[in-house]
Point group: C2
Chain length 306, copies 2
């Protein structure tokens, strides 16, 4: 089943202790699409300026990513610049030039309106709602947001949260949205706002998923070298949604595996700058890493001897 993703396309400037890149392909739809397209066809809605290097999208087009919904507007493409410190946990935003993205009003092409799986990337909550109104009958809607909207557009955000199934947040955003430092309590507050499933991403500490009356926990893959954390969250969402769309199953067990595939794809993402590592993954590499997560967490509880 195809997945619709709506969000940013950017040219990123990233500095890390290991080097830097300029005008590198980035943005939520790109990272999401690069990951999800290993599992299912992806439909992108976004906007770029007339300076955008469209040839950089070729590898995605070959992988069933459809850019019919990509508008090109006069002006410059959205540019973001950031610098990571030595431990890669803290990031400094160097600049955010929204350019043509500033007035982005997502229009969903007719051919996309039957999408059953929808990922609403991090844009204004009222625009996320506008997107949903254009979709006939989505089966699973996931949403990403950030502190900026939690602080400045909470009322819109709460309206949109009522219409979605899965919310993906990082831990500080979850605490902020719920106004509650304890994540278990925060999860209850947030799920009352609408989403049945809450995924809390904790970076190098893995991810927690609250679903039904249970919690599921995915580790982060322990890497020796993290080159560039940019896009890991959207890549995570891409692996997560991509897997669910591929198997067309939204049971609790499928969600658990989806969380692991999301973590697996995110672990590849950070191994190089931009989408470098997501260009040429093989299904075997993805399956091997999925299995590595299993080996890292699996234990025999039935024969413990206690």
């Amino acid at each position: 089943m195809s997945i619709l993703v709506v969000g940013s396309i950017a040219l990123d400037h990233v500095e890390t202790p290991f080097g830097s890149v300029k005008d590198a392909l980035g943005g939520s739809t790109i990272y999401f699409g690069a990951a999800a397209s290993y599992f299912a066809p992806v439909r992108v809605v976004g906007v770029v300026g007339d300076d955008f290097p469209h040839h950089q999208l070729e590898f995605l087009k070959k992988r069933r990513v459809d850019f019919q919904g990509l508008e090109t507007k006069p002006g410059k493409t959205f540019r973001w610049g950031g610098r990571y410190d030595f431990d890669l946990n803290s990031r400094t935003t160097l600049f955010t030039d929204l350019n043509v993205f500033e007035n982005f009003k997502p229009t969903i092409p007719d051919a996309y309106r039957d999408s059953e799986f929808v990922f609403l990337g991090n844009i204004a909550p009222d625009l996320q709602m506008d997107v949903l109104k254009q979709i006939h009958s989505p089966k699973l809607v996931a949403l990403d947001t950030m502190n900026y909207w939690i602080e400045g557009s909470l009322s819109d955000l709460r309206k949109t949260l009522k219409k979605i199934h899965v919310l993906l947040l990082n831990d500080s955003e979850a605490r902020q949205l719920a106004q509650e430092p304890n994540l278990v309590k925060a999860s209850r507050v947030i799920r009352k706002m609408g989403p049945e499933v809450l995924v809390i991403k904790k970076g190098e500490h893995g991810a927690l998923m609250f679903i039904g009356d249970t919690v599921f926990w995915a580790p982060a893959f322990p890497l020796e070298t993290i080159f560039d954390p940019t896009g890991a969250g959207d890549t995570f969402a891409g692996g997560f949604m991509g897997y669910l769309a591929k198997i067309g199953d939204v049971t609790g067990e499928a969600y658990k595996r989806a969380l692991i595939f999301g973590s697996a794809l995110a672990s590849f993402c950070v191994e190089s700058f931009s989408v470098g590592r997501l260009k040429n993954l093989t299904p075997e590499e993805i399956r091997d890493r999925f299995k590595a997560f299993w080996l890292m967490t699996n234990f025999d509880y039935l024969n413990s001897g206690f």
Copy 2:
């Protein structure tokens, strides 16, 4: 098989946002013993002052904790005071009155010298080495230490590390000991110093175990209320060593389950002040939590459909 534990016995003063306790039973041997004794007999070597309320040890004695190695010296018992902030992640030490613990020289009673499982609690590395010299032929020696010894007694610590099997550290201590921020790289540096198995505790983010050429990851149990984190590390070690001693198995698979039992016991520890929650646990409660860890991490990797 019995486990020998050498370390502190303290009377703790703890302040948290949920209340405070004064002169509460604490210290590494107490938390360790309270956890390990659910699995195997424990032998304690430590020192208290003549003010120590020995009746508080009754619950441990009933659970096969042997205090033949507990010396009572003229003077006051070791007292420690600490305050936790609202998020319980940062701790302020209010006071450390070593008292009789200052001149602690562990003497291992003859009856203890055949111990096959040994836990060297957080004391000076040269004293940890003295203990080892008094043990005939230990099968598994685990050691805890802290930043104080890494900074001030590194040479002694490195000598002792050569003689042990398992090192338990928190993540900042691991980074400090290895002088390497990346935990995967740090694990390699540290294991070259001696310990075959390295357990890195990350508090609310779980624990990582480096063993053979693999990594195993235990989550932390997501709790709604953490009353008092004091002693969680020693309780973790107690569950870990206790389980290994009970089944007398030190294979990789046993270590994985031991890491989960350690995490399970630690999750009980923080549910009340001092050893409150560790006094009356039933084996069923421990098994249920062990299973809860399995449910929280288990997924079907063989039938993923990808």
